[in-house]
């Protein structure tokens, strides 16, 4: 199709680069520099979408970020993306675009039936119905859900990647229009580190949409080019185009998103698609411009009804006529500029309908001089045309009643350009907690005092004349640099000069006078995307939803993907008028990030897939991998869970590992256990305070088990601590708690007991730790540590000694978490793999068997040893665990006081016991709940739960540990475990120590 609405010359497009694209299955052409919206308009396409609720036909309203209507589904499959604004999609060759929220097609949409029903579907109708019969709601909901939503989610894993970065600067300038450019120049010349962020593909802002503007005597385009060049030459200045500052957070922290490759036809693989900038700015200059407002009148939503300034931008920037015959409808002087530029581009401007009884202002005068047909004191009271506006009806406004009188004229047209005034884009300012104030003359909210280091300049600050914008931008840039600590430069002294034209005078009417009573005739839309009409707002007020926040939520005004950029102020105005209040009394709804929607992917950045979260590996990890270990996640660590041999099930592997450790020799990588080096003369006393038991008498070379509580008396960690020297200890913690325990020790030392001479240092990663367990542990060690005296006299149970194992400097501790004779060998981490190899080689004769965490769990459960986090859950005291023996009565320790609170002494607290199921083959599920009696139906009072449960190959039956109310008094009794599958397991309460209660296996 030809670009029949493309002007033969002009615009900022690159006519040498023709680009083909497809919309709803049809092929079109455009130029580089076009947005999709511009290219569609160039091809005469106005109907591009359907509204959210009534599925009304919708066209292109704006030329920028504020677009509520022209929402497009871009791309296919996994790269498909819904709800993109056609006004911001940069055209690339081969672009695939679809309209959305219609079925089967855009021009014939079944959903449009809603429009016929719209009388019974006012705001909030769903709160009032679908309640009968009660059981039908889920069916109604199904229909509602499928009617709602706009575009479609992409299908499949996103093939693109994203990036993020921190950044710092002295001055961030948001917006690359005249105000922002002037600010960046001034700040840059003052020597500040400047970042200029502009969401558009190019600098210039609204200047790009003008014609004949001059700055400092040069055409605007030249001035922009010079500014761009000067900024590029300053190495302290970074200009980021295609970069949206989307959120302004605390302490001048600004989040921005840069579109790196979206606009490229070929996407280089090494570049991310988009990048999140997490920027800390000392000062921020907001130069974000302003957004034109539509006018609210009957049937103001048809394709072809556009913002006046957008029509102007399409002409000047994209060399596109939006139509052939235009009517302009305005309430301010600014609307005439659009009329003039359109006329100059060959559009037949049928009339300028002006709400003002006495149109005046410089642009108005020029239009008069040009002989445009002006209809003062008039209003558009209705339109017609299904897929494109065809006619507008104009009525005269009766100054007395404020009502429009009967239609005075009906005008044919294919474009209705409207201007209802301007709203400064103060979204970021408000996000920064700055208060906004209402400016009566401008009929708009403007920034009040900033709450952070922010300066507003230009149109977003209520300055609409170009000279004012430049002056404010210049001053803001200079002041921001100064506030950021930079010395003012000499050559930055002067602001660029230009002429000043605003859009005033204007006459505010939040809803255009109509010739019909409210609610009759066509729908007067306020929020185009969500189909909210002026009448919906009145309905909400009538029903008692008086707060503007209630109005918003009841009608959904401003809640669409555009967040009400074009509609919010009109809505507030209508609410104020209806309630007879002043606009400031009504107030604004809260501005929230993002300014325009931002991709989820940027928040993940490159922290996806393998880089999602660190995978911590021990120095022996590669061996485990080669051995085919199955791994278990413990915190960020990967720990071998079990080592299946070919063809083995998990159950078989674990049984084999468990048996090996009891019968001959098992070997385990225990490197992940937390290790804390503690030095200083007060260490023993310190341990007294952090552990429940006493530490003063521990001899050098000996180890002791300890329990740690929180101040609520609950068990939080356990482990063995060794005394290495007079004032030197090595504490071990559970794998998961290594970091929190270290942090807590450090906290107590710094804040509670600063006078203690104790130093704690993490050495978890300094050592590789290998445990060998079983009757052949000692023979193996004897072989590899010939110099070491392993006799029980020299190295008894719970002792530690330095030595060399396989030629490696080591610390050898004889401690046991399995109940077997076992040694924990600590060597420098870099030697861990070598040690492992040496042990495996020398241990072959004992059929040395690597075992994983699962076998370790079985081994310790056979002995009734607890695992913190499995038997405990933050509500368990040492007494509950039957570990009174480790709780000192004499000294104070963290958590001690809590143990004497009334509820800690109750006999029905849950206590640790062993459980044997009646059927020895039956392994209770972990997490099974226990009852005394099974009732026919719930609720059934529960007395506890199974915390650990395994098949014990050594006992040849199942065993379990459980926490049961008053458990210690229930020894020998029967309890029942009703399972989810309806069966019940009968079990006997027994001691939690199933194997070798005397501990003879620990001895030679």
């Amino acid at each position: 199709m030809t670009q029949s609405f493309r002007l033969p010359e002009g615009g900022l497009i690159d006519r040498d680069r023709r680009l083909g694209f497809r919309f709803d299955g049809r092929d079109y052409m455009g130029y580089a520099g076009d947005t999709l919206a511009a290219a569609l308009l160039a091809n005469g396409v106005h109907l591009v979408g359907r509204s959210f609720k009534y599925h009304r036909t919708r066209g292109i309203l704006s030329a920028g970020a504020e677009e509520p209507n022209a929402l497009i589904q871009l791309g296919e499959g996994a790269r498909s993306e819904p709800n993109l604004r056609a006004t911001q999609i940069e055209l690339i060759d081969g672009l695939e675009a679809r309209s959305q929220n219609r079925w089967p097609s855009l021009s014939f949409d079944i959903g449009a039936f809603n429009n016929a029903l719209s009388r019974v579907l006012p705001s909030g109708f769903y709160y009032k119905t679908f309640m009968w019969p009660a059981s039908f709601w889920m069916k109604y909901e199904y229909v509602i859900r499928h009617a709602a939503g706009l575009g479609e989610a992409p299908r499949g894993r996103d093939p693109d990647h994203y990036d993020k970065t921190f950044a710092h600067c002295d001055v961030l300038v948001v917006g690359g229009g005249p105000a922002g450019l002037a600010a960046a120049l001034a700040a840059g010349r003052a020597g500040a580190r400047v970042i200029l962020a502009e969401q558009d593909s190019d600098l210039g802002g609204s200047l790009l949409g003008t014609n004949g503007t001059t700055i400092d005597g040069q055409p605007a385009a030249q001035w922009i080019a010079a500014a761009r060049a000067e900024l590029a030459a300053m190495d302290q200045v970074t200009v980021l185009t295609r970069t949206l500052a989307y959120g302004y957070f605390d302490h001048n922290f600004i989040a921005m998103v840069e579109r790196v490759t979206d606009h490229l036809g070929e996407k280089p693989g090494h570049l991310p698609r988009q990048r999140l900038w997490k920027l800390r700015a000392k000062q921020v200059v907001l130069a974000t411009g302003a957004i034109e407002r539509p006018l609210v009148f009957a049937d103001n939503d048809r394709p072809g009804i556009m913002l006046a300034d957008a029509c102007r931008t399409y002409v000047n920037r994209y060399a596109v006529r939006s139509g052939n015959k235009a009517v302009v409808f305005t309430n301010n002087d600014g609307g005439y500029t659009a009329a003039l530029d359109m006329a100059a581009a060959g559009v037949n401007v049928r009339a300028v309908v002006d709400l003002r009884a006495n149109p005046e202002g410089p642009a108005t005068e020029r239009a008069e001089a040009q002989g445009l047909h002006i209809m003062p004191g008039s209003a558009v009271v209705g339109t017609s045309g299904e897929k494109r506006v065809k006619q507008v009806r104009v009525g005269r406004v009766d100054p007395g009643s404020g009502r429009a009188l009967a239609v005075s004229e009906t005008l044919d047209c294919d474009i209705l350009a409207m201007s209802g005034g301007w709203s400064p884009a103060l979204h970021l300012f408000s996000q920064s907690r700055g208060k906004v104030v209402f400016d009566e003359a401008l009929g708009a909210f403007v920034p009040g005092d900033p709450a952070q280091g922010a300066h507003s300049a230009g149109a977003c600050n209520g300055a609409f004349g170009l000279a004012d914008c430049l002056a404010q931008g210049h001053a803001a840039g200079r002041d921001a640099a100064k506030d950021a600590g930079c010395k003012p430069g000499r050559d930055g002294a002067r602001a660029p000069e230009a002429e000043n034209h605003g859009f005033l005078p204007a006459q505010w009417a939040w809803e255009v006078p109509s010739d019909k009573p409210p609610g009759r005739g066509g729908k007067a839309f306020v929020d185009f995307q969500n189909d909210v009409t002026a009448n919906d707002l009145r309905l909400a007020l009538r029903e008692g939803y008086h707060s503007i926040e209630h109005v918003k939520r009841y009608t959904t005004t401003g809640m669409g993907t555009d967040q009400g950029k074009t509609s919010n102020v009109n809505a507030i105005g209508i609410v104020a008028k209806t309630m007879g209040r002043e606009i400031p009394e009504v107030g604004v709804t809260t501005f929230r990030p993002p300014y325009t929607p931002v991709t989820f992917g940027i928040f993940a950045g490159r922290d996806v897939d393998g880089l999602l979260d660190p995978v911590r590996k021990t120095p022996i990890h590669s061996w485990h991998e080669q051995a085919g270990a199955a791994f278990e996640d413990v915190g960020q660590w990967k720990r071998p869970w079990y080592f299946p041999k070919p063809g083995e099930t998990m159950h078989q592997a674990v049984n084999r590992e468990v048996k090996a450790a009891r019968d001959s020799l098992g070997i385990m990588d225990a490197t992940t256990l937390g290790k804390i080096d503690i030095q200083g003369k007060d260490t023993a006393e310190f341990l007294n305070r952090v552990y429940t038991n006493a530490w003063s008498k521990l001899a050098v070379g000996r180890c002791r088990y300890g329990l740690m509580l929180n101040e609520a008396g609950m068990v939080i960690d356990d482990g063995v601590t060794a005394r290495l020297g007079e004032n030197h200890y090595l504490m071990t913690t559970t794998t998961g708690n290594a970091a929190p325990v270290l942090a807590q020790l450090e906290e107590f030392l710094q804040t509670e007991w600063p006078d203690m001479e104790v130093f704690v240092t993490s050495v978890t990663e300094q050592f590789a730790t290998v445990t060998i367990a079983g009757p052949n542990a000692k023979p193996l060690l004897r072989e590899l540590a010939a110099d070491l005296d392993l006799s029980t006299e020299a190295l008894p149970h719970m002792a530690i000694a330095p030595g060399r194992v396989a030629g490696i400097d080591a610390r050898i501790a004889r401690i046991s978490f399995t109940g077997e004779m076992s040694y924990e060998i600590n060597v420098p981490a870099s030697c861990g793999l070598a040690l492992w190899h040496a042990l495996m080689t020398a241990g072959a004769k004992y059929d040395i068997t690597p075992y994983g965490t699962e076998a370790m769990h079985v081994l310790r459960a056979e002995k009734g040893f607890i695992i913190v986090g499995q038997e405990t859950d933050g509500s368990v005291t040492p007494i509950d665990l039957g570990m009174d023996w480790i709780v000192s009565k004499k000294k104070d320790f963290i958590g001690k006081r809590a143990l004497s609170r009334p509820d800690m002494l109750k006999p029905d607290r849950k206590q640790l016991v062993g459980l044997l199921s009646e059927n020895p083959e039956e392994v209770l599920p972990e997490g099974a709940q226990l009852v005394e009696r099974v009732l026919p139906k719930p609720p059934m009072p529960m007395i506890g739960h199974v915390s650990s449960s395994y098949h014990s190959p050594n006992l040849g039956r199942s065993i379990a540990l459980a926490m049961i109310k008053g458990g210690q008094a229930r020894m020998g009794q029967t309890v029942l475990a009703p399972l989810a599958d309806g069966t019940t397991v009968t079990c006997k309460v027994v001691s939690p120590v199933f194997l070798d209660p005397e501990g003879t296996r620990l001895n030679d």
């Binding site: 710092h168 570049l271 240092t761 030629g807 981490a829 070598a834």
Partner: protein, 211 residues
Amino acid sequence: MIESYLRQSPLAHLALAAHGPGSGKPAGVHMAERPFPGLVNLRGPGDNANFHGAFKAAAGYDLPVEAGATAGSANTTALWLGPGEWLILDARGGPKSGPRIAESLRAALAGISAAVTDISESRACIRISGAKARAVLQKGCPLDFHPRHFAQGQCAQSVLARAAILLHMTPDETAADGPAFDVYVARSFAEYTWRWLEDAAREFGVARGER
């Protein structure tokens, strides 16, 4: 018995052979593991002259006391980690260097309430250098790497993506084609950190091996 070739540096298993950035263009970033540095954690009374005196007597230089400052001799460098905490670093390292430094410091500080802990084995050291080194670190680390804020010889502890790091901008390398940073990270995070940095550097072109 244990031969030093059996020692595994934290990144040894990745078999990081030197290679260029590919596609013929110059690498924006160079990355290399620096294996076996000697690292000793020193804690002591930062406000005690005896302590400082004893250190100086042993090391031949004063402990730095400003945030992020470093000081050193030909043999070792002291990095300020916090009030009363330093890292004594022998970048050339070697398997015994950590224990050796620790031993001599312990001897020198006998009788002073201080703690000396060899942590050489517990950290990996990744050197990242080149014109884009700053940009790569900036992706994951909230510090400001502008030369005005992070100068040669300076050190800082911070985070890089989801790992805790100690950064040292090495003073010895001349910034012919960009600055050089040593990134110290817990051994078990080494592979993650390496892969993360390599991925971050991809858009600039990465060469493995030092310049």
